[in-house]
Amino acid sequence: MSRCLSERTLVRLIAGNGRENQRAHLAACDRCDARYRAIGRDLDRVTDVLLHTEPPRRSPSLLPRYWVPVTAAAVAGIALLVWVEITVWRAVTPAPSEEVTAFLSDISATMFSARDALAAGDDSGPGALSDGGGAGGCSSDPLGILGCESDTANEQAR
């Protein structure tokens, strides 16, 4: 005797599918026939339930009714924010890198022009700077921003 039929095959046979050799096995095998009949009885119970009982009551839950519009609204809100960020916000905000670059170039231009002016003043004599006021006699930092190299050197000597 060939191997007994699987549960899946038995259901397939009930549904009208299945091969001839499987039907032949079912006709010959008492064990498979008993399992086949058991599935048939289960289905009879199912049809009894569907025909003769009322479907179970559903509770009037708010959740299933409102989750779709709430989710849709949330997705729409997020999409709107992304759109504002991509189109509107970037359009009105200048690119920060250009601004910074311009600022730095202004600063460096100012510093180098001041240094050149001081270098020219040094050529005219050692007392020229202190007479002009400058940044308190400091040659390396005429604007008083970075600190004076000569002052630092003097402090270290002390």
Binding site: G16, L43, R45, V49, T53
Partner: protein, 171 residues
Amino acid sequence: MEGGPSYDDLFDAHARRLQRLCRLLLSDREEAEEVVQEVFLKLHKAQDQGAAPTSWGAWLTRVAVNLCHDRRRAGWWPRWRFRTDRIEDVGLVAREPNPEEAAIGEETLRRIWTAFRRLSDRQREVFVLRHLEGWTTEEVATALGLRTGSVKSHLFRAVRELRAAAGRSFR
């Protein structure tokens, strides 16, 4: 009309059966009632036009199944909108279980109905026509416009799901 059953005879013989069929396919009592009214309106017109099908019962079933199918495809919004709060779905009054319900048990009943509702529309139609109405596979295929292989495939899936829902407590 001569020879054939009268409108009233057909109504008496099939109205309750069609009501149950439509309710199973639509899961909604009110919609099922509307569809059954529509079915009998079509019957009235068909008799006026002198139609004489081999079996009025099969004709009525086919019309009902097609109308239910059209209803489900008509629009998801109204069905979804009122799905959860039909007044008749709310258990306002405690109901005595009938003998079948008492024998099977509430949990099993709930599982079977849940599995049935989870079937696809096609699976539900095929199962109802094949197992509840007792049609042959070929009749189901003709009525639904499917190939017999397709009917068997839908039926296999439906049987597998329903048996899984029922089998746990039956075996």
